[in-house]
């Protein structure tokens, strides 16, 4: 068993290394570099663009060197804990990521919770009342979030909230941006969080509901349920005593797979809502070819994915004796 674990672990490290290399190359695949982007943007805002400035910046940022040297330099620094420098923001990448990671996790955890709570609820109702009107209504409602394109849903909801005089976009109103923590700021945060929570959450609701419904339907047909029912156990008690708890199993065991989603799953919604999360920063870095911030975030994401899979596998390994035997 330890051999298996070690092998998996070593393999995981190798995978992270390879993906970091590939993503570094992938980011540079589009023609041009950050300096090209910068030049175009200066030109587009009517500013003077001087060839000499561009050349000097290219040297300063090290973009005049071949890709493999850039990668090697960056990766050696990463090993020493230095993630590099953002060209756009002229600040260290580690600072930028650190500032955003907390907010990202907060929003993701909120929306995941929303998705799971609502999804489980819908799943239970539609399984217990299978093929009834209630089943259909709940299923349709549960799938609406999945079925509508996130970016448009976000925009439409925002306009509706705006028309109703509510707070839109971002995580705080501008007045609380640089205010110290206070009750009012907390309330302001509470006003802004539901929108991303619902938009991102509803997209995941359907998946949870579907699994919940299917497993619960399976459980409800099992002998012990039939027996309990025939012995006159109250329906509600019967439902919550075992079947629901059993049906929750597959859902909880796959929660580890959501690890990377916590960070990257909401890029588009975050872009529309202008949330200060890592998603829009990654996108913006990719567009501008802001190398180090993009590759650091990708390294981070791939590591999370790989570690998430590893953890899930380990969980399954320890939970399911059949796998262990094989």
């Amino acid at each position: 068993m330890w051999a298996y674990l070690t092998r998996r672990f070593l393999y995981m490290v190798l995978l992270i290394l390879v993906t970091s290399m590939v993503s570094f190359v992938i980011i540079q695949l589009p023609a041009g570099d950050y300096i090209t982007t910068l030049a175009v943007r200066y030109a587009a805002t009517g500013q003077v663009v001087e060839q000499e400035v561009l050349d000097a910046l290219r040297i300063q940022f090290g973009l005049d060197q071949p890709v493999y040297i850039q990668y090697f330099k960056w990766f050696t620094n990463v090993l020493q804990g230095d993630l590099g420098w953002s060209f756009q923001q002229v600040r260290p990448v580690s600072e930028l990521v650190a500032e955003r990671i907390g907010v990202t996790a907060l929003i993701s955890v909120c929306s995941l919770t929303f998705a799971y709570v609502v999804g489980i609820l819908i799943g239970v109702v539609s399984a217990v009342f299978q093929y009834s009107v209630l089943d259909y209504v709940f299923t349709i409602v549960g799938f609406l979030g999945l079925a509508s394109p996130n970016f448009l849903l976000a925009l439409i909801l925002m306009v509706i909230i705006f028309n109703a005089g509510g707070a839109v976009g971002g995580l705080y109103s501008t007045e609380y941006l640089n205010a110290p923590w206070s009750w009012a700021k907390f309330l302001d945060l509470l006003k802004h969080i539901p929108l991303p929570m619902i938009i991102v959450g509803t997209a995941g609701t359907a998946g949870v509901a579907r699994v919940m419904r299917a497993t619960l339907l399976d459980e409800l047909q099992k002998q012990y349920v039939v027996t309990a029912r025939s012995k006159g156990v109250a329906e509600i008690r019967l439902l919550f005593k075992y079947p629901i708890r059993v049906a929750l199993n597959p859902i909880t065991s796959t929660i580890g797979w959501e690890l990377p989603a916590i960070v990257s799953g909401t890029v588009i919604t975050d872009m529309v809502l202008q949330l200060p999360t890592v998603g829009p920063m990654l996108f913006s870095a990719l567009v501008a070819e802001d190398m180090f911030i993009a590759s650091s975030l990708l390294l981070f994401l791939t590591s999370l994915t790989v570690i998430g899979t590893f953890v899930s596998d380990m969980l399954l390994f320890s939970l399911d004796p059949r796998i262990r035997v094989n």
Binding site: T36, V40, A43, T45, V48, V90, F162, T174, L273, P280
Partner: protein, 688 residues
């Protein structure tokens, strides 16, 4: 002036006229005046309009020109409190003996308040439309100054005199002027910049053209006394004032010296202590190449200094040592602080507009454009803001087209270099439809590469081949011998395939290019030329343009003001019809040939060589002279007659929106048509 007014035609003109004589804007003025009367300490309305001759380099100049005396100096209550607590020296010790005097456009403002903006980071600056234009330039020009040196007032300096023989310029500095940390600004700071930054290859990063003579030799600086410096041109340099108008040729040696080995032998160690490889790293980090105000610790001369930089916001605070006053003796700026909501550029601009309309920002996001006008105007009242529409004077056309004359495809090269091919395309465009469909009827046909306020522009140029005449266009192509296919659908190339032009374009900055391309493709279908529009990301597009691989350059013809052309480079009048490598629209290889003396690129035809010569000759002339006018007129004429870079419709007016709590900003003809951002923003104030 009259030409400026000509820019707005039709509806827009009617609308503006309405606003000027009793429309919503006038009502708003009345409101303002009323509130001003109510509040005794409130803003004091000034009645001198239009807003010209408002800048005075010294109080003496102000008094001599207006006959008024400048009252005693006043400061913001915020700073007064700091003085009282002993935090800050007295105002008199913070300001130069002779501050710069500016007469605000409408009101003597009131102190205080926080301006809330939205911006996104780019190479250390925050594009907000406000903070960019607040850097302190050597000369302060009127918004309509153009290349006329008489319209530039000494700004960082008190005054200057050019030697009789034109061989140098002597500048008198402002005695008592301080950096934002309280250290005096003196001749050493100027010499430090000129000798140790400008001429140090490891540190300087701009075009040296304006600091070298024709032979490429450096000019020089000498210290006359602590507050007087003299530059020797090493020859003559007639356009010094215009060329240096936006320069900021001074740096705080007392701070930056610690990172420069000429001034501190521990420069490397000092930089390494902060985590940089060597002194160059430390120096460039503190003294950003494009943006001097990106580091809070670096002393500034700007009205606002950076205070806090966080993930989601940046704050600026007033510079207590700022050296400009209004005509009532108030130290500027009026506003105490600026809060910039920092968002990612990849984000969706729509939510920013919503946040602005919910009164969370005082300026609309920079992505606002003409197509947003209906929604902005519809929410104007509930959002307590006003939409400001200004002529876009620096852009001649909303979308310009330049075929790639240096293409390596033999057949296409023949096509593109035949003027009839370009004429036919220009005639095929239904410009009325473009204007009505996309620009809400605010634009008019315009094909010239420069706008009508240029010297040397003649009335026929804008409408040259601007009419919609498909028949004539087809006749021109028939004359060229381009045969139709059997269905009469497309014209054919020698291989018998339809002539196909790949129209690569980018839309990152202007949301309407998609729609424009769709309409244009339909138009060109009428003359049997198959255009295949293709969106590519901006940096990819640039690489294709520079690599000479594209069929046609498509871009809005922006940035082409006469001032920029004269000061830097007439980018819309010579190949590649844009900045050099960046955004080169067509035939970059010709320019490459010129720049490398024939080592790289392709030799341009004689006509193009002549254009280059003409352009460089023009750059050496003096504004106002007959030579200046004739040269630029000839250059424009060649461009127009050949339709090298031909336009579709005139540039749509710039649209911006500003909260009603912000006053004293550029918003109508009194400001010479300048956009709100392009204006000395230290006189803006907040009026709740």
């Amino acid at each position: 002036m009259t030409r400026t007014r000509l820019i707005l035609l039709g509806l827009l003109a009617a609308m503006m006229a309405l606003a000027a004589c009793g429309g919503p804007a006038a009502e708003e003025d009345a409101d303002m005046a009323e509130t001003a009367e109510e509040m005794m300490d409130g803003p004091m309305a000034l009645d001198q309009e239009p807003w010209v001759d408002y800048q005075f380099s010294t109080p003496a100049e102000y008094e001599a020109e207006t006959g008024n005396t400048l009252p005693g100096l006043q400061e913001s209550p915020m700073l007064a409190a700091r003085v009282a607590s002993g935090d800050l020296p007295e105002l008199a010790n913070r300001m130069p003996a002779n501050p710069f005097v500016i007469r605000p456009p409408r009101y003597i403002g009131t102190y205080g308040g926080e301006l809330r903006l939205v911006g996104f980071p780019e190479a250390g600056s925050y594009f907000t439309g406000f903070t960019e234009s607040m850097q302190a330039n050597l000369f302060a020009g009127d918004p309509t100054a153009g290349p006329d040196p008489n319209k530039y007032h000494p700004n960082l300096i008190e005054g200057y005199s050019i030697d009789d023989d034109g061989s140098g310029i002597t500048m008198s500095l402002r005695q008592g002027m301080k950096w934002s940390d309280g250290d005096p600004v003196d001749a050493d700071d100027w010499i430090f910049w000129f000798d140790s930054i400008l001429q140090d290859e490891r540190l300087f990063f701009g075009s040296a053209n304006n600091y070298q003579n024709q032979a490429g030799e450096w000019m020089s600086i000498e210290k006359v006394d602590d507050y007087t410096i003299r530059y020797d041109f090493n020859g003559t340099f007639d356009k010094v004032v215009v060329a240096w108008s936006t320069a900021r040729p001074v740096a705080p040696v007392h701070y930056l010296g610690q990172f420069h080995p000429d001034y501190d032998e521990n420069a490397d160690a000092n930089a390494q202590e902060l985590g940089f490889d060597d002194w160059v790293g430390g120096f460039t980090d503190k003294n950003m190449r494009k943006n001097y105000s990106a580091r809070p610790e670096r002393p500034q001369l700007n009205p606002f200094i950076l205070k806090d930089v966080e993930a989601t916001f940046v704050t600026w605070e007033r510079n207590p040592y700022y050296w400009r006053v209004d005509t009532a003796g108030n130290q500027l700026p009026y506003i105490d602080s600026i809060l910039v909501n920092v968002v990612q550029q990849g984000g969706d601009p729509e939510v920013l507009k919503l946040k602005f309309m919910s009164q969370e920002f005082d300026y609309g996001p920079s992505q606002i454009q003409i197509t947003d006008l209906p929604v902005l105007r519809n929410n104007e009242e509930s959002g307590n803001y006003r939409v400001i529409i200004t002529d876009n004077l620096s852009t001649s056309s909303a979308l310009g087209v330049a075929f790639n004359y240096s293409t390596q495809d033999e057949f296409k090269s023949k096509l593109y270099n035949d003027v009839r091919f370009r004429q036919a395309h220009a005639l095929a465009v239904d410009r009325n439809d473009l204007s009505e469909t996309i620009f809400l009827g605010t634009t008019r046909p315009f094909t010239a590469p420069v706008s009508e306020i240029w010297t040397g522009y003649e009335d026929w140029m804008g409408t040259y081949f601007a009419e919609h005449d498909v028949e004539r266009a087809n006749a021109l192509l028939d004359e060229m011998g381009l045969e139709w296919d059997a269905n009469g659908e497309w014209r054919l190339d020698p291989n018998g395939d339809p002539i196909t032009i790949l129209g690569e374009y980018a839309t990152e900055w202007l949301g309407y290019h998609d729609e424009m391309m769709e309409l244009l493709v339909d138009d060109f279908k009428q003359i049997g030329i198959r255009w295949q529009p293709k969106f590519v990301p901006e940096d990819t597009l640039m690489s294709r343009y520079v690599a000479n691989e594209h069929d046609v350059g498509i871009w809005n013809t922006d940035g082409g003001s006469e001032l920029i052309a004269y000061r830097n480079y007439p980018m819309r009048l010579i190949p590649p019809w844009h900045w050099q490598s960046c955004c080169a629209m067509s035939s970059y290889v010709w320019r490459q040939w010129l720049d490398t003396d024939g080592a790289e690129g392709i030799e341009p035809p004689e006509q193009i060589k002549y254009m280059y010569d003409l352009a460089f000759e023009w750059l050496a002339t003096n504004p106002g002279t007959e030579e200046y006018e004739s040269k630029i007129n000839e250059l424009i004429t060649i461009n127009v007659e050949n339709l090298y870079l031909w336009g579709t419709v005139s540039a749509p007016p710039s649209v911006s929106a500003v909260s009603n709590r912000v006053q004293n900003i550029a918003e109508d003809e009194a400001f010479g048509g300048a956009a709100p951002g392009a204006y000395p923003n230290d006189v803006a104030f907040i009026h709740e």
